[in-house]
């Protein structure tokens, strides 16, 4: 290589030019090739493989004895899967809604050019620095009736105080919403704050001159122009919600019973501990389908809107 380089340098300038040109053309593709190959194999390849496995009778190792839609039939006959899906619906909706509402509200408050904004912003953003495992463990301590909030209130003399959601099968899923919202709303706030700062002050001043009140300005002018921020927040929050695993694992490990089970935990437990890989694969394909069912229409409408507008 070195030898040929020397030759081309001394003898043929135009050939070298062509070589570098070609190299320049190829270099970006070459540099991206490993990433592309990994994405192709690691994401789409395994997605396809999981799809194939979901039609087999695989137990604890993959096998290729095809059983048609049997695993899906079994999946939807499984009471625990239905609980997990219901939980995901409750959790996903409340989590996204509360994060957006709280994040947006905090961002608007912070946008009022207050003192020490930097400090407050950092405090709100800090929960994001913790891993979900830590968040889950801390909230488990806070919400545990014999350890946290309830005991504190009892010790302070308010003995009739009761907050046992963590041990109540009907309410436990809401405790997970509380912890997840605590963790993620600061992040949404940061996104919104960036969006708010990007709005042209001239528009707001013009509205002021026209005599619009502050809430009205935000409701009618500022928030509608923040559609891209809503879009990215929902995208990020939706995938956090669907893949949630560590938070529930740390807080309740799916309990009491399986009352706080989520599809990701269902998938893990059936694929890896119970030796029912086929059923686990079917459940992960259903999770993918759920994600696509929400994201594809949303992406489509958002991206089309952008192109036309």
């Amino acid at each position: 290589m070195a030898h040929s380089g020397v030759v081309s340098e001394t003898t043929s300038q135009p050939a070298r030019g062509r070589l570098t040109q070609r190299l320049q053309q190829w270099l970006p593709k070459l540099a991206l090739a490993p990433t592309a190959a990994m994405a192709l194999v690691g994401i789409y390849g395994f997605m396809f493989w999981t799809g194939v496995l979901s039609f087999t009778g695989s137990t604890f190792l993959p096998s290729y004895e095809f059983v048609g839609f049997d695993q899906y039939v079994r999946l939807f006959g499984n009471a625990r899967w239905l609980t997990a899906c219901t939980n995901l619906a409750i959790f996903g909706f409340l989590f996204i809604f509360c994060c957006l509402a709280i994040g947006c509200f905090l961002a608007i408050l912070l946008d009022q050019r207050i003192r020490n904004e930097g400090v407050i912003r950092t405090i709100y953003l800090y929960p994001l620095a913790l891993s979900m495992i830590v968040t889950g463990t801390v909230w488990q301590w806070i919400l545990n009736p014999s350890l946290g909030l309830e005991k504190l209130m009892h010790d302070w003399g308010w003995t009739s105080f009761q907050f046992d959601w963590l041990t109540n099968p009907n309410m436990v899923i809401y405790t997970i919403v509380i912890a997840a919202v605590w963790q993620a709303s600061g992040f949404v706030m940061a996104l919104f704050l960036a969006g708010l700062r990007g709005i042209d002050p001239a528009i707001i001043n013009a509205a002021r001159v026209d005599g619009a009140s502050l809430p009205r300005i935000y409701l009618r002018i500022v928030l509608p122009s923040m559609r891209p921020v809503f879009f990215s927040s929902v995208m990020v929050l939706a995938h956090i919600a669907i893949k949630s695993f560590d938070l529930v694992m740390a807080m309740t490990s799916g309990g009491p019973g399986y009352a706080s089970d989520l599809p990701a935990m269902f998938m893990y437990s059936f694929t890896f501990t119970r030796g029912q890989m086929g059923l686990g694969a079917a459940s992960s394909i259903m999770m993918l389908a759920m994600l696509l069912a929400i994201l594809v229409p949303y992406l489509y409408s958002e991206l089309r809107g952008q192109r036309n507008g």
């Binding site: 137990t59 009471a79 963590l166 309740t252 009491p256 019973g257 399986y258 437990s269 119970r274």
Partner: protein, 416 residues
């Protein structure tokens, strides 16, 4: 002079012999806690004495889940370890896929068929051939008792479930938690299993959880067992949700709770707290299961290898594990009892002695049954389905036992 000459001869012999059969044994296990790791160290030494090299392949975490994931990868890529900690029904599944080797020669030499109860050796065999070696026997249906609490309240240790509820009422009235429990699926199943065994008896227990007889699973005795099981809810504290078993054991040690139903690994917690069996704590069979023994056996399954020296080492490993010397050392560290019925129990503690006595007696009279909660009775798929039904039932306030029994049968059916 003579011992030295023997020693020299032995050393000389080992030099001559070792190149011929020095193999390597790689053992995948998750015995990583203090006493267990020490016990494995003994096995390592014993293997090295025989001229083999030991390659420890300990994967801690998740009750073996992490280790299983590693094992699957290794086995599929054609490079399995010599032995892996696989237990109960999973042995059959691995053997069915053709991964396990045949240990019949060692078994015949060492007379395994004579020293192991048939119900135990059946689990170690696939289609009549030995493929795994049992390491220890845990008894699951124990009731751990804090005698001070009983003395304070002035009640006797219960022997039937009716007595249990009577006694528990009094303990509860005295402001002490009657039963220490951890609300995790496997612990719920451990308690349920004890109640079911008492209600059904060993024969119907086997019919339900081993042979999956639908009539027994949804029958009136099962409904009765579920009713009693649900009643236990009243005698555990509301904060049991998600509690680890050893935390529950500490409640008994501290006198915050009176009893716990748990396998004999709980003994390790008592020992660590410097408590003595028979004095500071008592182990009695779980109510109504005096004549039965729910076993949970750890075992090492042996994989097919393609190196002759390593195969030889693997056979020596199998032989060594079942020799009385290792059985004694390992089981004293682990809190369990030897799987051979002919081991001298003199150096064991009272609970282990009682356990061995019951093990021998029940092996004769049919009271020896596999534990459903610990993967001995059925496949992990069926076990998982039972867990789901049981734990959901136990955690639902006004659950209907009759409907649950039917649900139990259909859940088992769906996983067969």
């Amino acid at each position: 002079m003579k011992p030295i000459r023997h020693l020299l001869a032995a050393i000389g012999l080992s030099f001559v012999l070792s190149p011929a059969h020095a193999g390597q044994v790689e053992v995948l296990h998750w015995w990583t806690s203090g006493g267990e790791a020490k016990a494995m160290g003994v096995l390592k030494e014993m293997m090295e004495e025989q001229g083999h090299t030991w390659k420890d392949f300990a994967v801690a975490g998740g009750g073996g889940e992490a280790a299983m994931t590693v094992l699957k990868t290794r086995a599929v890529s054609g490079n399995p370890p010599a032995a892996a900690q696989i237990k109960g029904h999973d042995i059959q599944e691995w053997a069915k896929l053709g991964f396990l080797t045949n240990l019949d020669d060692v078994a015949k030499e060492e007379k395994w068929d004579q020293v192991l109860p048939p119900i135990v050796s059946d689990i170690m065999k696939y289609e009549g051939h030995y493929v795994a070696v049992p390491v220890n026997v845990h008894r699951v249906n124990w009731l751990w008792v804090n005698p001070d609490v009983f003395k304070k309240v002035g009640v006797e240790v219960p022997h039937t479930w009716d007595e249990f509820f009577e006694v528990a009422d009094k303990i509860k009235a005295a402001g002490i938690i009657p039963l220490a429990h951890g609300g995790q699926a496997w612990q719920d199943a451990t308690v349920f299993e004890a109640v079911a065994l008492a209600e059904l008896g060993p024969k119907d227990y086997t019919a339900a959880f081993v042979n999956h007889d639908m009539d027994v699973l949804s029958g009136p005795k099962m409904v009765e067992a579920l009713t009693k099981f649900h009643k236990i809810r009243d005698y555990i504290d509301p904060n049991a949700v998600g509690r680890d078993w050893n935390v529950a054991t500490k409640m008994v040690i501290n006198g915050d709770a009176a009893m716990q139903i748990m396998g004999d690994w709980a003994k390790g917690e008592f020992t660590a707290a410097d408590k003595v069996a028979g004095k500071d704590y008592e182990c009695v069979p779980a109510p109504g299961t005096e004549g039965s023994f729910t076993f949970n056996i750890d075992s090492l399954a042996m994989f097919k290898l393609n190196n002759e020296a390593n195969e030889k080492a693997q056979m020596d490993l199998a032989r060594t594990i079942l020799r009385p010397k290792f059985q004694t050392i390992f089981n004293k560290a682990k809190g369990s009892i030897p799987v051979r019925t002919d081991v001298d129990m003199a150096s064991f503690d009272d609970c282990a002695k009682a356990s061995m006595k019951a093990f021998k007696a029940t092996a004769e009279n049919g009271g020896l049954v596999p534990s459903m909660a610990h993967g001995m009775a059925t496949t992990s798929a069926v076990q998982g389905q039972i867990f789901d039904v049981i734990t959901n039932f136990f955690n639902t306030k006004d659950a209907d036992p009759e409907a649950t029994a039917k649900q139990l049968a259909s859940a088992v059916q769906s996983a067969l």
